[in-house]
């Protein structure tokens, strides 16, 4: 019991810190992904915008979904949401609490990606280089260039090696301008996110603190109950298996005794533990038979009380594995020693 308690406290106190840890790891993974990613602006008029905005917005969406997938509690939320009411009422506040806390954690890695992207500036430079104000920054009066031509020239801004519009607008000037805008957007985005987080966190105790405590308690309860139930089932399965197998060996040994008309083996007092564990199977042939019938014809999932007469429950070959509804099933199939 004490060990149980220690493990539980570990899980409980660490469930939150475990989730926070995963959250932090994903945020770091997202910065790492960004620095490892080889950004390659296509430098073509309509592709730039699609590429730039795509790199800005698609990975955050993926990271957001990944945040949900990696969260163990999503299945718990779904189960609680879909279960029939039965004898236990459903509290939508608890569901909302669970969903909000999961969504908040899942939002961190995408927000990190968007901030890092904006602060770095490559995406915005790529996406909006055709919208640079040439009149103010460069030479708008450059002759003989149609709108389409100008656009094509501007689209090559991110690719310095092939840029040929130095007379139209200097490459460094345009890049600096776009990067400045991008960084300003980035910092504003981070400020906005931080302010939102701050408001959410600090306004909550001012309103509905009691409801919050209630939702938090019951959502933890549901989590613990599910874990405890799984553990109890696992314990039960273990005992079930143990007794089932014991009965299998016993009935094997009993059948052999019946088939061979052996005198029941008397385990001498001093043979003790070891021979008890042998469960009546003491030679190679018998063991082989036991293994073969374990493979070919597993015993039914039905533990009969040990006081029943022998021969019961031993299903010979060819008998289908059954679901017995009555405990006293007389299976008079005898195994023949072939």
């Amino acid at each position: 019991m004490d060990k149980f308690r220690m493990i539980f406290q570990f899980f409980q106190s660490n469930q939150e810190s475990f989730m926070n840890g995963i959250c932090g790891i994903m945020a770091l993974a997202s910065t790492q992904m960004y620095s490892a990613f080889d950004f390659n602006c296509p430098c073509l008029p309509h592709y730039n915008m699609a590429y730039g905005l795509g790199i800005l917005l698609v990975p955050p969406f993926i990271l957001f979904l990944l945040g949900f997938v990696l969260n163990n509690n999503i299945s718990m939320l779904a189960e609680e949401w879909r279960r029939p009411q039965g004898q236990r009422g459903k509290d939508p506040a608890v569901l909302r609490y669970m969903f909000c806390s999961m969504a908040q954690r899942a939002m961190i890695a995408p927000a990190v990606w968007v901030s890092v992207t904006l602060l770095d500036g490559k995406c915005i430079t790529c996406a909006f280089c055709t919208s640079v104000p040439v009149e103010t920054l460069g030479n708008a009066s450059h002759p003989l260039l149609s709108q389409g031509e100008i656009e094509r020239v501007l689209a090559r801004i991110p690719c310095k090696e092939i840029y040929n519009g130095q007379e139209l607008i200097a490459n460094e000037v345009a890049v600096r301008y776009l990067r400045c805008i991008s960084q300003a957007l980035g910092w504003c985005f981070v400020l906005l996110m931080t302010t939102l987080a701050f408001l959410v966190r600090s306004l909550r105790p001012c309103f509905s603190q009691a409801a919050f405590l209630k939702s938090r308690y019951w959502s933890h309860y549901i989590d613990i109950e599910r874990k405890l139930f799984d553990e109890t089932c696992a314990e039960h399965a273990r005992s079930f298996a143990k007794v089932c197998i014991q009965q299998f060996f016993e009935s094997m040994s009993t059948d052999l005794v019946a088939a061979h008309c052996h005198l029941p083996r008397k385990t001498s007092e001093d043979a003790g533990e070891a021979s008890k564990k042998l469960l009546g199977i003491t030679d190679q042939g018998t063991m082989n038979m036991a293994l073969k019938s374990w493979h070919r014809c597993k015993p039914p999932l039905h533990l009969h009380p040990p006081a029943l007469p022998s021969g019961n429950g031993w299903a010979g070959e060819g008998q289908p594995p059954v679901h017995p509804s009555t405990p006293r099933r007389e299976t008079a199939a005898y195994y023949s020693l072939v």
Binding site: R5, R83, G86, Y177, Q183, T194, Y221, L303, P327
Partner: protein, 306 residues
């Protein structure tokens, strides 16, 4: 009891040190952020000032808010401030003490950012290069005012083709950097002197009130932690009881429906307990199905539920 005490002491000593640790980490993070950040002044007349001052002041606000968010005590303080009075009186001195200690810790990272920015100098050069007086510098003397504005705005950009070898650019740069670093060191000195005085002179005023406020703010923090732990412990026991009752009621139901007289024979006591009377595939399936479709009510008072 002993274990309780050990845990108590752990929490007592560690609440403050955890807060200090977070404070230090944020300060380091702010330095790291500054070095990683690719400062790129736009070198355009109106944009310079906005960019420079923006980089100097917006990240500190962000760091300050982060410092408040990451500090667990801020929630405790808000809770204490907003709670209804009930049977326990509210002492505003405690709330004020907590507030001031939270603010002090949250201010460290922003101040570090500002000082690092000033000592590095890039922000101020970017922001104020356009406001320089061109007559002080030789290279800008023979230029029209409109062009002067453009040239001065380009001073922070070393690689710009106009500015590459311009000695006046270097002069303006050095001048602004000198001011920036002087400002940085002065602010640092003032802050350290202020902190020193505050810490030295504090025992001269209201020491008793301070000790009380500190004790009770610690108390509120520990009480909150222990309440959360007790709730966890309680919910674990509640769940345990609930599940046991569920298994028991399943066993009763099976007994009723099957008219089964289970030979509670010579099976191991331990195994019997663990099996809880469920000894059949069908019974297990029924149990699992009932667990999903019809969870037991949250009431462990009744001995049996059906």
């Amino acid at each position: 009891m002993d274990r309780f005490r050990m845990i108590f002491q752990y929490f007592q000593s560690n609440s403050e040190s955890v807060m200090n640790g977070i404070c230090g980490l944020l300060a380091l993070a702010s330095v790291k952020m500054y070095t990683c950040f690719d400062f790129s002044c736009p070198c355009l007349p109106q944009y310079n000032m906005v960019y420079g001052l923006g980089i100097m002041f917006i990240p500190p606000i962000i760091l300050f808010l982060c410092g408040l968010i990451l500090n667990r005590q801020s929630l405790v303080m808000l809770d204490e401030w907003r709670r209804p009075q009930g049977h326990r009186k509210k002492d505003l001195a405690v709330v004020r003490y907590m507030c001031s200690s939270i603010m002090q810790r949250a201010m460290v990272a922003p101040v570090v950012w500002i000082i690092v920015t000033l000592l590095d100098g890039k922000c101020l050069i970017c922001a104020f290069s356009g406001s320089m007086d061109p007559e002080k510098f030789a290279g800008f003397a023979n230029v029209t005012p409109a062009q002067v504005e453009q040239l001065l705005a380009k001073v922070p950009c070393k690689d710009d083709e106009l500015m590459r070898n311009n000695t006046s650019r270097k002069a303006v740069s050095r001048y602004l950097r000198c001011w920036s670093q002087a400002l940085g060191w002065s602010i640092l000195l003032i802050l350290i002197v202020a902190a020193f005085l505050a810490r030295w002179l504090r025992p001269c005023f209201n020491q008793a009130t301070l000790l009380q406020a500190r004790h009770w703010s610690n108390y509120i923090d520990i009480e909150q932690k222990i309440f959360e732990e007790t709730c966890c412990e309680h919910s674990r026991l509640f769940a345990h009881k609930c599940i046991l009752h569920f298994f028991e009621s399943m066993r009763q139901e099976i007994k009723l429906h099957n008219f089964n007289l289970p030979g509670e024979g010579e099976r191991d006591e331990g195994e019997e307990d663990l099996l809880r009377g469920i000894t059949d595939q069908d019974q297990v399936n029924k149990l699992l199905k009932t667990w999903y479709y019809d969870k037991p009510p949250l009431d462990v008072n009744q001995a049996t539920q059906r």
